[in-house]
């Protein structure tokens, strides 16, 4: 390769390459972006695996996430403490799953987590309503929101419990043609 970088050991980079969908160059670039978010917290040298986390507020201001209505949920579902503070591992993990090389099944699992606002492993009607309101910025009338959520549950719910379990969600998303974005 080119110049010898000193941010990660080779072993670390190998591990990252195996555990994510990124190449070495991309991982180094990600580290650059991570460092930019909070230069005073994030060290340049990761060889001894420092334990630092960038807070949620800084991450959701990244240009890639800024316009996304689910940005808070995305960051929260990848963080270990559930509050949205990401260590570098979680940061890389998040972008790996969101990248275009991640397979559909993996994205479906995380999409379920993102849309599950109350984190109860089911997409109940309130979750759907919140999703819809975030998407349309509350421009639909409440009756319309109600109707749309009812119809969505009606379409995807297979076991008849009026909410979507992961199996329902996965079954539906595997047939949704627009999902991969």
């Amino acid at each position: 390769m080119g110049n010898k970088q000193t941010i990660f050991t080779d072993e670390q980079l190998d591990a990252y390459q195996d555990c994510t969908f990124f190449t070495r160059k991309e991982i180094l670039r990600l580290h650059g972006r991570y460092h930019e978010l909070a230069p005073h917290i994030v060290p340049m040298d990761y060889t001894n695996e420092p334990d630092c986390k960038v807070p949620l507020a800084l991450i959701v201001n990244m240009p890639e996430l800024k316009e996304n209505p689910f940005r808070n949920r995305i960051v929260e579902s990848f963080s270990e403490d559930g509050l949205g503070n990401l260590s570098f591992n979680e940061f890389v993990d998040m972008f790996s799953v969101l990248s275009e090389m991640a397979p559909r099944e993996l994205k479906a699992i995380y999409a379920f987590k993102i849309y599950d606002f109350n984190v109860d492993n089911y997409l109940c009607k309130e979750d759907l309503e919140k999703t819809l309101n975030r998407l349309t910025k509350e421009d639909l009338t409440p009756e319309e929101v109600d109707l749309v959520c009812d119809k969505a549950i009606e379409e995807a719910d297979l076991d008849g419990d009026n909410k979507l379990s992961f199996a329902d969600f996965e079954n539906m998303i595997s047939r949704a043609p627009d999902f991969l974005r």
Binding site: N68, E80, N89, L106, K151, D161, F169
Partner: protein
């Protein structure tokens, strides 16, 4: 609290008995796929952490069993597992330690890893080589996937045309170019001296005025006529290379068949994925709510305006869907009288549409005949008027294609269909109009070519006026292509830019209603499919046309991109990327089918011209094939004759039909099975809930005897299943309940 007591295992090691939902194997397998230590929110911190720890203990047993299975069955790459990075790294370490591979195994694993990395890098490299990658990314970010699909379609057509040109070039032009330099013998097509072989070309001789060059460039006549551009120049019959005799007419014919076939295969291959998905499920179902809610947002959007637009387009789509539901209701409630009235209106309007189409086609026919006759009369008026007359068919076609979509979109409003159907139906009408107008042009050309004063023509065509009719057809196709490009550039420059200027600087009511230009994807797609159909038809008569079309599409890309970025706002009626893929390729296939028809007819039916071109020695262009076959060795001949006989054709047809019916039956059976399974799932869900109800009721009874009597009133309340609450609350109860009597009567 001894948590392990919650899990009762019988001697086989499987978890049984405690029937609460979270402990079911199906749920456990889901857990395994998810992060085990999901940080709790306030409500469920306690139960969650219990579940977490017990879950992870359970997980580790499951883990080890599954690992062994996994190692044997499939080597799923680690990065595809749904775990955090830390877990993946520990899992990887576990795997590495658990597998005591020999050095051979290690080496194999390492090579596999290296190969995978090389494949990733190669893929990255190939992606960066793709034409216009940066531009298309930019467009995608600003306008979304609908418009992106238009531009990647354009890129596909550029590639396709380039490949077609390479085919024609390497098999037809290259031998002719090489032959003089390789000092081999060449035989030219014989001029047998009869009246049919007199070639009166309109190429200019002597001193040529400069502006006539320009006119020639635009009309394909003059100095361009006797060049590689047109069919008439290819007079070579056979080239005698040292080892092989190169039969040029055969090569010309086979190259034509090859490029049509190649286009077909490439398009079908490209549309295969979208088609499969559309066949398996109903299309209606997934232009639907779930798709929009969960998959509607484009996670790649980074621009604030684009986000706002995406939001409003999603809103629009949802409102349209709700509207459609309402309309469906309305349609279902229509009375008989209303229905009759609507059918009558539709009939009248359809007749009107047919009348309009017939009128357009007739005017194209008249324009072509007038243009041909005026050119033949050879009266040189003003060169500008001459040019206009030459371009008259193109002008009429373009005008018709401009007016009819407007007309159709007005008419469809009165026909009272549902909005989605309206869009599709208008599109179908426009497609039909565009592609059939080319057919009408060709038909009128041929009627001219085969019309002789004496009734039937001696040579099969009108040799006096059209001594080299293929070149004339080629010239018409060339003119159509050039005119298409000019119109696209002109419309962008002279209509869209001024419109943007006007909208920006003048602010009164009418102008604001007219609004900024929207990038109408269907109309633009029809434009380029129209151009591509012309290219397919014209390549037989004008072998360099694919190269011209490649350059044309290249320019169109940049023109459209600039127009899009500077002038347009994204359409308020969003065009779904998923179905549009199918739409583009479907229309392209229709264009290809329509292009094959004239080429086939002219190759097989119409006598090739005797004065020019490679097929002078044959009565029709197709005849070169039987002629060559007759010269092959006997064995091969009999095989080929058998292949082309009716017996073979009929049996092939029957076999294909049988295969098709089988596949259709299979698809139908699968659909039925899917429906049955879906019902079964619903029933299973109901069974599960019923059983849990009963078990919770049953568990409520022995709890009376348990020392933890405090939990008793709670347990009675909780045992009435309201399954809209989370199961984890039931679970915490279950922990307490099951804890005390390990061998209670509830234990099955």
């Amino acid at each position: 609290m001894d948590v392990d007591a919650v899990f009762y295992t019988d001697h086989s090691g499987k978890v049984t008995s405690n029937p609460l939902l979270d402990q079911l194997p199906s749920y456990q397998s889901l857990l395994y796929r998810r992060k085990s230590s999901n940080g709790g929110t306030k409500r469920r911190a306690s139960s969650r952490s219990q579940l977490g720890s017990s879950g992870s203990m359970k997980l580790s047993t499951v883990n080890r069993q599954d690992e062994r299975q996994k190692g044997q069955t499939l080597q799923r790459p680690i990065r595809e597992l749904a775990k955090t990075i830390n877990e993946k790294r520990t899992y990887k370490k576990q795997l590495d330690e658990a597998c005591e591979l020999s050095s051979w195994g290690q080496w194999r694993q390492n090579t596999r890893r290296c190969l995978r990395r090389m494949k990733d890098e190669a893929r990255g490299f190939l992606n960066s080589l793709k034409l216009w990658r940066g531009d298309i990314h930019l467009i995608e970010g600003m306008f979304g996937p609908g418009i992106l699909s238009y531009f990647s379609f354009l890129r596909f057509l550029v590639m396709l045309n380039l490949v077609i040109f390479l085919i024609m070039f390497s098999f037809v032009m290259l031998p002719i170019i090489i032959a003089p330099h390789a000092s081999v013998n060449i035989t030219y097509s014989q001029n047998n001296g009869n009246v049919c072989s007199v070639y009166t070309s309109s190429a200019r001789r002597g001193l040529v005025v400069f502006h006539e060059h320009f006119t020639d460039l635009l009309s394909g006549g003059g100095f361009l006529e006797e060049t590689y551009l047109f069919y008439g120049y290819y007079k070579v019959d056979k080239i005698y290379f040292p080892q092989v005799t190169y039969n040029l007419p055969l090569a010309y014919l086979l190259a034509t068949v090859a490029y049509l076939f190649l286009s077909l295969i490439w398009i079908v291959k490209r549309s295969a994925t979208g088609f499969k998905r559309n066949l398996i499920q109903d299309e209606d179902r997934f232009q639907s709510f779930c798709n929009k809610i969960f998959a509607g947002w484009d996670f790649c959007i980074t621009d604030k305006n684009a986000a706002r637009l995406k939001r409003s387009s999603l809103l629009y789509e949802l409102k349209t869907d709700l509207e459609e539901e309402r309309i469906k209701q309305k349609i279902a409630e229509r009375t008989r009288k209303e229905r009759c009235r609507i059918y009558l209106i539709r009939l009248i309007l359809n007749l009107f549409v047919i009348g309009v189409l017939a009128g357009c086609f007739y005017s194209i026919y008249l324009a072509t005949i007038y243009s041909q006759e005026a050119q033949m009369n050879d009266v040189k008026r003003n060169s500008h008027i001459d040019l206009i007359i030459e371009y008259l068919p193109s002008i009429v076609i373009t005008l018709a294609n401009f007016i009819t979509p407007l007309l159709f979109s007005i008419i469809i409003n009165y026909e009272d269909y549902s909005p989605a159907f309206e869009i599709r139906f208008t599109l179908m009408r426009c497609v039909f109009m565009r592609l059939t107008s080319i057919g009408v042009l060709l038909f009128s050309l041929w009627s001219q070519i085969t019309k002789c004063k004496e009734g039937t023509c001696i040579c099969g065509y009108n040799h006096l006026l059209y001594s080299c009719w293929e070149t004339r057809v080629g010239q018409e196709m060339y003119k159509l292509t050039v005119f298409d490009l000019i119109i696209i550039a002109a419309v962008t420059l002279f209509v869209e830019f001024p419109r943007k200027m006007i909208v920006k600087y003048c602010d009164f009511g009418l102008v604001r209603w007219w609004g900024q230009q929207e990038f109408a994807i269907p109309q633009n797609v029809l434009e380029i499919v129209y151009g591509q159909t012309i290219c397919w038809i014209g390549t037989f008569y004008c072998p360099m046309l694919p190269a011209i079309c490649t350059i044309k599409y290249f320019f169109i890309f940049y023109i459209k991109k600039v127009s899009l970025i500077k002038n347009c706002r994204p359409a308020t009626r969003p065009f779904r990327a998923s179905s549009s893929h199918f739409f583009f390729l479907g229309v392209l296939l229709i264009g290809l089918a329509l292009a094959c028809l004239p080429v086939t007819v002219s190759v097989a039916q119409i006598s090739s011209s005797q004065a020019c071109g490679p097929f002078v020695n044959y009565s029709t262009s197709w005849e070169v094939l039987p002629y060559t076959v007759a010269q092959l060795p006997n064995g091969v001949q009999t095989i080929l004759y058998a292949l082309s006989s009716e017996v073979f054709a009929v049996s092939f047809f029957v076999v294909t039909c049988l295969a098709m019916f089988y596949v259709i039956a299979l698809a139908g059976a699968h659909k039925r099975v899917i429906n049955q399974l879906r019902e079964q799932l619903a029933t299973e869900g109901r069974d599960k809930r019923f059983l849990i109800q009963k078990l919770c009721q049953a568990q409520g009874i022995p709890a009376v005897k348990s020392p933890l009597s405090k939990s008793q009133p709670l347990s009675r309340n909780r045992s009435s299943p309201s399954y809209h609450t989370s199961f984890s609350s039931n679970f915490s109860e279950g922990v307490f309940l099951a804890h005390s009597p390990p061998h209670s009567s509830t234990h099955v």
